[in-house]
């Protein structure tokens, strides 16, 4: 038993207490619980200080822990006794339509928020910070490799650099990047939902993420981690670096991921508005759904794996230790049963946002909607069948090698379906090269390269040659970074105006997007070449013949790092300098563009109207970066709603999708009449409507499927009022 373990015990106790509390406690107690949580962390700081100072003193950590615990308990007892203000955030928030950024103020209104957008925004900043830390380690690795032999650090430090780069980038940036941050912000709005299904669980996941992130980053002051991000046994059992801290961090991050996935699955199942069937969901939501399946089914295995590793390391139970009869290959099975699906947890959300980017900026319906949706799900399912291809040279048996190699090729099918469909969407499209679209197109290229080189590695005989070389490094960077991170940046630009209310600087964005693309290829193209020539990965030194490739790669890495840095600075600066963003700056068709910018607490000030998804015919750019719908339906939702009620379309919906579609079509047809009435007023507003367009719309409305009505927040009183009013009107007529 040493200090490391003591710290872990404290941390785990604190975190489990805090997380449980956040899940179970009522809103009144949330304040107390957050303080409890924070004070436990205060208690943890003592032991950490001790460790950093090199003291091996037992008194001060214990005292610090007790102090932290006492503060926690006192706070828990005292704070609930304080007079509690009506919760400014949720669910009895103010009824005026202030946006979610301004509806309440103060640190606690953010730290205790249940609003998915605020939680997502906090995730986003955490992830951007982790990106910075991981990026610095990446640049340090690349700098060290500029010359053969020692450039800046020695071998041990180099091991720590690449381990921390990998661990931070994988666990803190890429896995939560799109689903937890952008998914949290955007997905419920795309569904037309007021929030995720379990807001408190959402907050708990965020704090689990924070705690895991703190632990993982804490390995740096503890002396760095040198096992590689994969934590392979038996080395991770022997390493003198703080493996336990890292494993516990990964454990917590895993559960954060599980709860996020669970939350999203329930949200997608239960919070779709009526009229939005499974195939009227934006493809981004489909991707998040597929991701969530893997998060729920695969991540627990990571949890138990690192838990066993933790116990193995301090209690020597012998599961993975060959000296005690354990099986180190079993660890790799456990690890990759999670971590292969994790690769898809990283990439599928990226694919999801690319659907939105390409379709929106091309202004064309996405080609092969159902195929893309199905391919997301099939990727999720196939991801469970191919984990062994990471273990071809790990002592895995020949039979398993062959089976896994064969199964690996199946993954290419859904991936290719997506690529072909995106290319088909772009065909003859009027492409607008906004920053988001540049990233989207970069994704197409980089993912194609990453995916195809993956096929090389799936071939058993080729893999034996290429395994653990820079070819593998380049391959997975093309997929993880070139695809996922690029998609993440694209999505960030795409939705930035929506959730911050500010336009970013388009010029800087575009230049940086090109910088990212070129810098990335500069970095990793040479790695393919030297990998194929035999340069092993994770080596500190290398043969001089590889010098030129390493130097190109390092230069590229700095271009890349610089571009991303400027991008992030420019985006953050737009909080203050950007001009106000309109509701729909890019001409997007999904529901989030109907919401105010930035959205209010419950996302929509009035029930959003479903239009045909990925149909852009109805949208016009009234001024640069401001799109409006030609139909005035959204200006008259109450009226349209009332009509819908009158004709019985909304109430008769128990029979499922087909009837909902029929109802939607009826609403649309009725709405046409309303629109006709308002035609004159529209024209006087300056939005000239072509009669031809109108006729086309009418024809289309008849065949439209999947449009409908949504009323997630409407109360019965409102509905009744509407009905009554409508009846009156009808009688008058």
């Amino acid at each position: 038993m040493n200090l490391e373990i003591l710290v872990l015990i404290i941390v785990v106790t604190a975190l489990s207490g805090g997380a449980l509390a956040a899940i179970f406690a009522g809103k009144k107690h949330r304040h107390a619980l957050a303080w409890f949580f924070l004070s436990f962390w205060l208690g943890v700081i003592g032991p950490i200080g001790d460790f950093v100072l090199g003291q091996r003193d037992w008194v001060s950590p214990i005292v610090a822990t007790i102090v932290g615990a006492v503060i926690g308990v006192v706070v828990v007892l005292v704070v609930p006794a304080l007079p509690v203000q009506p919760d400014p955030v949720y669910p009895d928030g103010p009824k005026d339509e202030k946006d979610y950024l301004h509806c309440s103020k103060g640190f606690l209104s953010w730290a205790l928020t249940l609003d998915h957008k605020r939680i997502g925004l906090m995730y986003l900043f955490g992830i951007l910070f982790s990106l910075l830390v991981g990026g610095v380690f990446a640049l340090l690795v690349r700098t060290e490799l500029f010359f053969p032999g020692k450039t800046i650090v020695d071998q041990d430090m180099y091991n720590k650099f690449f381990t921390l780069h990998g661990a931070i980038m994988v666990f803190l940036v890429i896995i939560p990047g799109i689903p937890a941050a952008l998914g949290n912000i955007i997905m419920p709005i795309q569904l037309g939902a007021p929030d995720v299904a379990f807001p408190r669980l959402n907050l708990a996941s965020f704090y689990l993420w924070c705690s895991g992130a703190i632990l993982l980053v804490l390995t740096i002051p503890f002396g760095g981690l040198d096992t590689g991000w994969t934590l392979y046994t038996p080395y991770s059992l022997e390493s003198k670096t703080p493996v336990l801290v890292a494993t516990m961090g990964v454990f917590l991050l895993g559960f954060s991921s599980i709860f996020t996935g669970l939350n999203f699955l329930v949200t997608i199942h239960k919070f779709r508005p009526q009229g939005m069937g499974w195939f009227q969901m934006p493809l981004n939501v489909w991707a998040i759904y597929a991701t969530a399946i893997m998060q729920v089914l695969a991540t627990p295995v990571l949890g138990i794996t690192v838990l066993l590793l933790t116990v193995e390391r301090f209690a020597h139970i012998g599961i993975f230790d060959p000296n005690l009869g354990g099986d180190p290959v079993l660890f790799q099975h456990f690890f990759w049963f999670y971590s292969h699906p994790a690769v898809y947890i990283m990439i599928i959300p990226g694919m999801g946002v690319v659907n939105e980017l390409i379709s929106t900026y091309a202004g064309k319906p996405i080609f092969g909607y159902r195929f893309i949706a199905y391919s997301s799900i099939s990727l999720a399912l196939l991801s469970f069948l191919v984990w062994g291809h990471h273990m071809f040279v790990s002592g895995q048996s020949r039979l398993a090698n062959m089976v896994f190699s064969a199964l690996t090729f199946t993954v290419a099918i859904p991936s290719a379906i997506k690529i072909f469909n995106w290319v088909a969407t772009l065909y003859k499209a009027d492409i607008r090269l906004k920053t988001g679209m540049i990233y989207g197109l970069a994704f197409l290229l980089l993912f194609t390269i990453g995916g195809l080189t993956g096929l090389f590695l799936g071939i058993l005989s080729v893999d034996v040659h290429l395994h653990d070389t820079y070819f593998v490094v380049a391959h997975f960077h093309y997929v993880m970074m070139g695809s996922t991170l690029v998609a993440f940046l694209g999505a960030l630009h795409h939705w930035w105006p929506k959730f911050t209310g500010r336009m970013y600087n388009e010029k800087i964005g575009q230049i940086c997007a090109f910088g990212v693309f070129f810098g990335f290829n500069f970095t990793f193209m040479p790695q393919f070449v030297m990998g194929a020539r035999g340069m092993p990965r994770r080596y500190w030194d290398y043969d001089p013949q590889y010098t030129i490739f390493h130097q190109l790669s390092t230069i590229g890495a700095f271009i890349l790092g610089f571009s991303i840095f400027i991008t992030v600075i420019s985006l953050v600066a737009s909080f203050w300098t950007g001009k106000k963003a309109p509701r729909n700056p890019w001409g997007g068709s999904s529901l989030e563009w109907q919401a105010p910018t930035p959205p209010p607490l419950y996302n929509f000030e009035k029930p959003p109207v479903l239009h045909e998804l990925y149909n852009y015919d109805d949208l016009v750019e009234v001024e640069p970066d401001r799109w409006e719908r030609k139909t005035p339906i959204e200006d008259e939702p109450e009226k349209a709603d009332a009509i819908a009620r009158k004709i019985g379309a909304v109430t008769d919906h128990t029979a499922g999708a087909t009837q909902a579609e029929r109802a939607a079509a009826m609403i649309h047809a009725k709405a046409e009449e309303v629109r006709a009435e308002h035609d004159v007023t529209e024209s006087s507003k300056g939005k000239a409507l072509d009669p031809k367009d109108l006729a086309a719309d009418k024809a289309e409305a008849a065949k439209v499927a999947g449009a409908g009505e949504v009323m997630p927040t409407a109360t019965a009183e409102q509905a009744k009022d509407e009905e009554a009013k409508n009846k009156d009107e009808g009688e008058k007529k």
Binding site: H269, L297, A298, V301, P322, G325, D327, V329, L330, H333, F337, F384, L385, W387, G388, G395, Q396, S397, R398, L399, A400, V403
Partner: protein, 126 residues
């Protein structure tokens, strides 16, 4: 079940299990526990004993899932979720077992009796 024929009538959020069902399930489970202990006393051979014990365990678990957990009366999709978890787990067990049965021989379990050299010609190098 007669009085609870509707899973989602206006007053109930979910199916209400009858007392009879609950008690019958509980009793059966306890009896099966006795049975499984008794079955160990009889020597059918290790494998058959294991199979008997597992079959009883599966029956017990099924009873719990169907009646205590109301899965029989619940939405179909909840069964899908549960079964897919079981499938994923069995996939995990199956693949790992398939692999390990191949390489276990190379895992030196007892240093005093190292595994036999592989049979067959030596692989030709390069």
């Amino acid at each position: 079940m007669a009085d609870h024929a509707h899973d989602h009538d206006d007053h109930e959020l979910a199916h209400v299990a009858t007392l009879k069902t609950l008690l019958a399930t509980g009793t059966t489970l306890l009896l099966l526990t006795l049975l499984t202990v008794a079955a160990t006393k009889v020597d059918f051979g290790t494998n058959i004993n294991l199979a008997v014990a597992l079959v009883i365990a599966v029956v017990k678990a099924t009873l719990v899932v169907l009646f205590f957990m109301h899965l029989r009366y619940d939405r179909l999709f909840h069964s899908v979720v549960f079964v897919s978890a079981l499938l994923a787990a069995s996939l995990f067990v199956g693949f790992t077992l398939m692999d390990s049965s191949q390489y276990q021989d190379t895992n030196i379990w007892n240093p005093s009796t190292p595994p036999a050299a592989p049979v067959g010609p030596r692989p030709v190098n390069g």
